[in-house]
Amino acid sequence: MILSYALYFAFGCFGLAVLMNLWKIITAEGVGDRVLALDTMVVNSIAILVLAGIQEGTEVFFEATMIIAMLGFVSTVAYARFMLRGNIIE
């Protein structure tokens, strides 16, 4: 009982967080802020997937979570490198 309420609360928090990240992506004034908002959105989506795993009681979401975490890190590094150098693979 208390667990389902806490799950709904956490779903609401992270859903609102993703919406705020989307708002920041739209209204950011520089490309650095946009990349930061995208990175935060990846982390928030990881949290939402873990919450779905708790609610469903399965462990199939963990592989997806791991893949999203790795791809998010690599893509953020690629964006930052593109901002620094102008290309990614030299």
């Binding site: 208390i2 806490a6 992270f14 609102l16 993703v18 650095g32 802020d33 928030n44 708790i54």
Partner: protein, 132 residues
């Protein structure tokens, strides 16, 4: 065991949710780009860590064994968040800062990000000699 596990999971879920919300709200609220870097990299990582700990406790309370997936994801996130923050800060310094407004780089000649010769060129010159 089930009752205590539920309550502990709920506590960690609420704490993690609050931290995640604060992290994303700070991304909108803070004014300076460098201070905006604080909120997602610290608060959001802590929020996701709370949710992962809740998942760990929940799987232990329901199934009776500790699953290692959550620890793996937590470790990965806590390792990569500072690296992405460092990269974004470097990109910001590279794009927006001048030599005069930055603090002194110590015993080096200048900040490596603002060096006009990139490190790739330095390596190329060391390997192939001065060709241009």
């Amino acid at each position: 065991m089930g009752e205590i596990g539920d309550i502990l999971t709920a506590i960690f879920l609420v704490v993690g949710g609050c931290f995640g919300l604060v992290g994303s709200f700070g991304l909108i609220k803070l004014r300076d780009p460098m201070s905006r870097l604080h909120a997602p990299t610290k608060a959001t990582t802590l929020g996701v860590g709370g949710v992962l700990i809740a998942s760990l406790i929940h799987s232990f309370a329901v199934d009776g064994y500790v699953s290692v997936h959550e620890l793996l994801i937590t470790l990965f996130l806590f390792l990569t968040a500072p690296v992405t923050a460092l990269f974004l800060a470097k990109a910001h310094i590279h794009r927006h800062s001048e030599d005069e407004v930055l603090p002194s780089p110590g015993k080096d000649t200048c900040w490596a990000v603002l060096d006009h010769r990139t490190s790739r060129q330095i390596i190329d010159e060391a390997e192939y000699g001065q060709d241009d």
